[in-house]
């Protein structure tokens, strides 16, 4: 019941907000923050009671009947493995911080704002907790609605363009996935929508006799793979599909940016880990080099673009593109260290980029501009803020002792090691990814230098207020996590291990590229043969 409680709590908490008047601003804020704090406390057993050694991959499992029609079985099934546990904890951890960060930022229609945020939290937890594909899809899509409103109502100048672009991009991908889900369900015989069941049933379909109607040809697998991968590649976002992200980030209000960067992007990576590769391992193996190249392109391109930005938030947005590239690099390296690194990097990015957006929001609240050139030399004026910013920056560029180092190092190591058996270009991926790390240091440190160091450029900046206790209070947990995760990563890695093993057993069969290509050739030959009954007959008995 814990997971259901986690989904329901924010929704229940939103109901009283519907009923109160908009005037009671303070009460509304306090109530929303309390609800999210309670949700966080309720989610803590996920950390303490998740036992990676118990042999059960999915824990806190629940099954309830949801839709049972003729030939349609979807259940309200929840359960978490290592990845999901950590991502849910990230969600519940970030949420109170983001809400507290919006204390002064949101001045209009506060009631609706907090309702949207709490609804978003429920949807995000649902995405990570669902073990039923249809339920997953419902939460995945439902999370769009509050985010659309968050950017569209409380966003900046160009918010309508940004939010429309965000929604249309995301929906384009997920609607194709919608058809692919239906196809997969049809192909596997339509028992039910359980994710683990579908992965195994698809395996059986691949192994079925090619003349059997239930046989999943490689061609079909590739189409479905692309439909799924496109949805999550847009969400993550992968290099050529990333263009919605800078717009959305720049226009979104600070708490919206924090949630978008910290949690929503993770749905993309989670989708690759949970659905894309386990469902379609052969197609994934076939296109893994392609995704590796796109990832490293994204890393380098995102870093270069970040370097060129004048807008603090846009800079952080492009750095997100680079960091999420590292995550995908780790996932597609097909070895334990790489996958763990990629997943760890998702958590790191959630914490450090969330903190960066909060800090950018604090700067903006003080000066009402996000232009880097406006600042300069404010380290003397706001020393505490400077310290916080520098610590977060160091985490973002992956300095040892911080969490970023662990994640980036493991992911790049995974990519490097992959050259042994998976990717012949593994060295290049690692080298280009490493170049991205260096570029990351370049743009982040230059950002720090241009904003905080040097001479104070503007007189008005000499009177900037340093962090208030509230602001410091909401940054401290993030700063603490940066060091905890940097110094003691093993509890996190240990929780991910069973999930990684499971991922590798799903993914391994098609990892041999030569074999995958051969299979492809074989598949097309079969497809050509099956058009002509005589040919396929002789094909079977030469």
């Amino acid at each position: 019941m814990l997971l259901t409680a986690l989904i329901v709590l924010p929704l229940l908490g939103a109901i009283p907000l519907l009923l109160v008047r908009d005037g009671n601003a303070r009460e509304i804020k306090v109530w929303a923050i309390m609800v999210s704090l309670v949700t966080f406390l309720v989610s803590l057993p996920l950390w303490f009671n998740y036992d990676p050694d118990s042999g059960e991959l999915y824990q806190f499992v629940e099954h309830h009947r949801w839709i049972h029609l003729q030939g349609l079985r979807a259940n309200f099934s929840l359960g978490v493995d290592g990845f999901a546990t950590l991502l849910i904890l990230l969600t519940t951890f970030i949420m109170p911080i983001a809400l507290l960060g919006s204390w002064n930022y949101i001045k209009e229609r506060q009631k609706e704002f907090y309702i949207a945020m709490l609804g978003l939290e429920a949807a995000m937890i649902g995405v990570f907790a669902a073990t039923d594909l249809l339920l997953f899809y419902v939460f995945f899509e439902a999370s769009l609605i509050p985010m659309y409103l968050l950017i569209g109502i409380w966003g900046g100048e160009n918010r309508i363009y940004a939010t429309t672009k965000f929604v249309l991009y995301t929906v384009f991908g997920s609607l194709l996935m919608f058809v692919a889900i239906l196809f997969v369900y049809h192909k596997t015989g339509g028992a039910h929508f359980g994710i683990a069941h579908l992965a195994e049933a698809l395996q059986r379909c691949r192994e079925a006799d090619p003349l059997d109607p239930s046989h999943l040809t490689l061609g079909q697998e590739i189409w479905c793979f692309w439909a799924f991968a496109l949805a999550f590649a847009i969400k993550i976002p992968l290099f050529p599909l990333h263009t919605w992200l800078p717009d959305a980030h720049v226009e979104a209000p600070t708490p919206g940016s924090v949630i978008l960067a910290s949690v929503l992007l993770k749905m993309g990576g989670y989708g690759f880990l949970r659905l894309v590769v386990p469902f379609f391992p052969h197609a994934a193996a076939l296109y893994a080099p392609f995704f590796m190249w796109l990832s490293v392109t994204g890393i380098v391109y995102g870093s270069l673009m970040a370097f060129a930005q004048q807008d603090v938030k846009k800079l952080i947005a492009y750095s997100s593109v680079a960091h999420m590239g590292t995550c995908l690099l780790g996932i597609f390296s097909y070895n334990a260290i790489g996958i763990q690194g990629g997943a760890y990097q998702m958590l790191n990015h959630g914490i450090s980029t969330g903190a960066l957006f909060l800090l950018a929001g604090m700067l903006y609240e003080r000066t009402h501009t996000r232009m880097i050139d406006y600042y300069g030399g404010i380290a003397k004026v706001v020393p505490v803020m400077t310290v916080c910013f520098v610590v977060v920056t160091l985490s973002s560029i992956g300095l040892p002792l911080t969490n970023g180092f662990v994640g980036e190092f493991s992911a790049l190591l995974g990519a490097f090691l992959a050259q042994k058996d998976v990717h012949s270009c593994g060295v290049w991926y690692a080298a280009l990814g490493g170049l991205g790390v260096i570029l990351g240091a370049v743009y982040m440190l230059s950002l720090v230098k241009r904003v905080f160091y040097g001479k104070v450029l503007r007189q008005s900046n000499e009177r900037l207020a340093d962090l208030s206790p509230r602001e410091l209070g909401l940054l401290l947990p993030l700063l603490a996590m940066i060091f905890v995760m940097g110094l003691q990563p093993s509890p996190f890695f240990r929780r991910m291990e069973p999930a990684v093993r499971q991922f590798l057993t799903y993914a391994q069969p098609g990892v041999d590229f030569a074999k995958a290509r051969k299979l492809h050739a074989h598949g097309t030959a079969l497809a050509r043969g099956s058009g002509n009954p005589d040919a396929s007959g002789t094909g079977r008995e030469p």
């Binding site: 839709i67 003729q70 194709l176 239906l182 196809f183 049809h186």
Partner: protein, 510 residues
């Protein structure tokens, strides 16, 4: 003739009776007390719903489980009950009853959402309610018809009522709508009649499901006649549901008609027209007919979705946008009617259930949306463009929330009813092996999100602009009408509940 058989048609009788009562009551009542008429009409609809439930339960007693969707295909009833009544003119089966329910609900809700109109306008007169009820009785009979003659007569009862209703406001757009509807409707009926004539020529009878079809198909002379009948009947039926390329009448008619009537046309009339299509696709030229003509539906579905969704993009009038969106939804619905030759009876029944769910969900959402459109006004001037919705969220948060639910639901986003409706029909198409139409359809529906979001954007995101230079900006205001609000809030609730727990409805019916 057997009186017991007529008893099965009691719900239709109740509706017809109420229609007469309302018309005559109007003569006796002073103008001030006209509001009684809408109550009487509503009462008649509720009574008919009760009678319908009674009919359902009484025939369910003859079957071991629930009554079959098609009496001809399902298991035989016990106790000497014959589902084909009045010599085979009508049939009492699950499909017909489901269409009747949708028609009655559509009628009741459109009466409710018209009840707030001025007491001296035509929209509150006895003949207005009488015509709605008459149209509803036509829709119900259309769902139950099992002979081409009764089918044609029911169709005309429905159509003639709605031709008049479209022009009920007696203004220029209303007259244009009514005339356009009449001319094009008559045009399509001509196709239908020619198809019936061909069919009579081939089979020598009017039955919708002649047993000899399989044999006759093999004989060249009657086989060609049947092909001709199929083509003409399909054109007629596609005209009535408003599928591309026969969709031209829809936007003008929907825009010109009063909002309540538009709601009725978009739900009840559409459901009844789909009933004709369903009978043709599954019974007459269904699984026993060997020529696989479903590609016609597949092509029409893709074309309809594309036309509806892309033309809706450039509309500025919300009603017109909803009309084009209705065309697109006709396309989605056509997907549920794709039957392949190796579809089994059970799968066909499942597809129809999916279609019924879609019709019901779409009907509720559309009636709610037209209810909101009918309320948004200022100083008696109807405001229907997107800009006129600006600021609605501030002035009327509850109504705006419902409208947003309807829009997200029409766009097919979870957790709203529209998502599951769409899910079910696309599943039908994929299970029947039509993957390509499904993919093309889903791609066009990306565009649909844009124009549905325009309404949400206007209500929530856009600043209120002044209507003219130098004027104060006026946010959208709604007329207060508890009857309409009842419809809108009810529809909003149903949209949400059906989206999260679709089992609640489906568990009731099958």
């Amino acid at each position: 003739m057997n009186w017991n058989e007529l008893y099965e048609l009691l719900p239709v009788g109740v509706v017809l009776g109420t229609a007469l009562v309302v018309v005559f009551l109007d003569l006796a009542l002073p103008k001030k007390e006209r509001y009684v008429l809408s109550m009487v009409a509503m009462g008649g609809c509720l009574l008919a719903l009760g009678a319908l439930a009674e009919t359902y339960l009484s025939i369910a007693a003859y079957y071991k489980s629930t009554p079959p969707w098609f009496a001809a295909a399902g298991s035989a009833p016990s106790g000497g009950f014959n589902p084909f009544i009045l010599g085979g003119a009508f049939v009492i089966d699950g499909f017909g009853l489901a269409v009747s329910v949708v028609a009655l609900l559509a009628g009741a809700l459109s009466i409710l959402s018209s009840a707030h109109e001025d007491l001296d306008s035509n929209l509150t007169s006895g003949e207005f309610y009488g015509l709605i009820l008459l149209g509803v009785s036509g829709m119900m009979l259309l769902g139950l018809s099992h002979e081409f003659l009764t089918l044609l007569v029911s169709l005309e009862i429905m159509s003639i009522s709605t031709y008049i209703l479209a022009g009920a406001r007696r203004d220029t757009p209303g007259a244009e709508a009514a005339l356009k509807y009449l001319v094009l409707g008559a045009f399509s009926t001509a196709f239908l009649m020619m198809g019936i004539a061909f069919f009579y020529g081939a089979t020598g009878g009017f039955s919708l499901a002649p047993a000899s079809l399989k044999v006759l198909e093999q004989i060249p002379s009657s086989g060609y006649l049947l092909r001709g009948a199929l083509g003409l009947l399909l054109v007629g039926a596609l005209f009535k549901v408003g599928a591309a390329p026969f969709h031209f009448w829809i936007p003008d008619v929907y825009q010109g008609a009063p909002s309540g009537v538009t709601g009725l046309m978009a739900t009840g009339v559409k459901a009844a027209a789909f009933a004709v299509l369903g009978r043709l696709a599954f019974e007459t030229f269904g699984l026993t007919y060997s020529y696989d003509w479903c590609w016609v539906f597949a092509a029409a579905a893709v074309l309809t979705m594309a036309v509806g969704n892309f033309l809706a993009l450039k509309q500025d009038n919300v009603k017109r946008m909803l009309a084009y969106s209705g065309i697109a939804h006709t396309g989605y619905l056509l997907l549920a009617f794709l039957v392949s030759r190796n579809t089994t009876e059970a799968e066909a029944a499942e597809q129809l259930q999916n279609a019924a769910f879609y019709l019901l969900a779409y009907g509720v959402i559309t009636l709610g949306a037209f209810g909101v459109v009918g309320l948004v006004r200022e100083d008696g001037r109807r405001l229907e463009t997107f800009d006129d919705f600006a600021g609605l969220a501030k002035e009327h948060p509850a109504l705006a929330l419902c409208m947003a639910c309807f829009m997200f639901s029409l766009a097919g986003l979870p957790p709203f009813a529209g998502f599951f409706a769409k899910f079910l029909v696309f599943r039908s198409a994929i299970d029947a092996g039509y993957v390509l139409p499904a993919v093309l359809g889903i791609l066009t529906s990306v565009a649909s999100l844009y124009y549905y979001l325009r309404v949400v954007r206007a209500m929530y995101l856009d600043p209120v602009r002044p209507a003219a230079l130098g004027q104060e900006p006026v946010p959208a205001r709604c007329r207060y009408a508890w009857t309409s609000n009842l419809v809108i809030y009810g529809a909003g609730l149903v949209t949400l509940v059906l989206g999260m727990l679709p089992q609640w409805l489906t568990g009731l019916v099958w």
